[in-house]
Amino acid sequence: MSQTTPPDSPAFPLKRTCPFAPPPAYDRLRAEEPVSRVRLPDGGAAWLVTRYDDVRTVLSSPAFSADGTRPGFPKLIPGQAQILKRPPFIRMDPPQHSFYRRMLIQEFTLKRVKAMRPGIQAAVDRLLDDLLAQSPPADLVEAFALPVPSLVICQLLGVPYADHAFFQSRSRIAVSGSSTAEQFATALGELRAYMDGLITRKQQEPGDDLLSKLVAEQLEPAGELGREELLMMCLMLLNAGHETTANMIALGTAALLEHPDQLAALREDPELLPDAVEELLRYLSIADVVTTRIAAEDTALSGTPIRAGAGVIALLAAADWDPAVFSDPERLDLRRGNRHHVAFGYGVHQCLGQNLARLELEIAFSALFARIPTLRLAVPADELPYKHGGLLYGVHELPVTW
């Protein structure tokens, strides 16, 4: 059963003080108490894991389960209680998790992703044409950071981009820490109804897209997927496909603008781009708190015993700022040349769309700074509206001028 939680345990989420850095408490915990208890917003408790090696252990060892239906699985925002009753496959363990993941992997191989380059480049160029046709200032989230991944995942899945305002607003509610359980339930209900209608359309008029393919090959009775399972899988892909990358584009742009020496290095040497993307992924680690688990058996981490049934939060940003692995982790160093960060997670649940995300980020940053060389923030960086307390870190808006 759950272990006792000292009444003075810190409340989760821990507070950030610098907009680009993880909460400073992570450094103290990693050094002094690498496996520590926290109180969760719903009154539950969990172990907070801050060392790189421990985070990788949690995410790759079968001693820790990703099964969101297990009693005591950590719930970080109100809506998670509902979604975890019938979770998408990313909150399942093998072999169920592998069964679903394998239906999708061929769409996300390096070769398939590379073939998407011209389409992504065209979308990025068009969005920048539109942005430059306006007079500054503009909100870069609305004009660029959100539409880029949204267009890409819509095309891949076969979701009409014309509906973007609808599903983007509901997706935002689904990952926000300030949504109530009621708001979450309403948003999820609307998204399900929308996806259900889309599945019907793909049954009647299949297109050349992933959703049509899944409907034709995997949906019962021809395949093994129930309609509800297919629906949740597609909603998860739609959500994961734009919320994450959008936050990385916007926050990554802000971080580069706030580190002019690094941006100058990137402009001088475009070959640096792949390494720059890896370093921004590490430095920002926007999915910091997404990787929650539950101990499947009695185990231990860094000498701290963890009982079966205890919730665990493997903090990705804490791991990616572990000075034992990344020297001077607080320094944004585009020449660091690291790819062993855990910004995409680790273990069998590591991000399915990571190579698509890398490509989108490369194209987006490269085109943005080439087309708008005078781009700058329109408000001071510490006054930007940051997304505190949600599942993904980022900015709600990014006012820029040029």
């Binding site: 790759s60 592998s98 191989t109 390096l110 070769k111 790819r339 069998v348 590591q350 990571q354 190579n355």
Partner: protein, 63 residues
Amino acid sequence: MRITADTDVCISAGMCALTAPQVFDQGDEDGLVRVLLPEPPEELREAAAQAVRLCPSGALGIR
């Protein structure tokens, strides 16, 4: 150096093909790891070893 790959364990993250594209590929149909050069020449060994270390599923090994 001899590279081993367990396709039952592979999750198609693609880290190997990204890191050492001359040594690793992904199957077109299943996305699973294909070892192109099980005994990579000297100049590719460092990249191959890094790819093995980066594999998130533990599907790759060096014998």
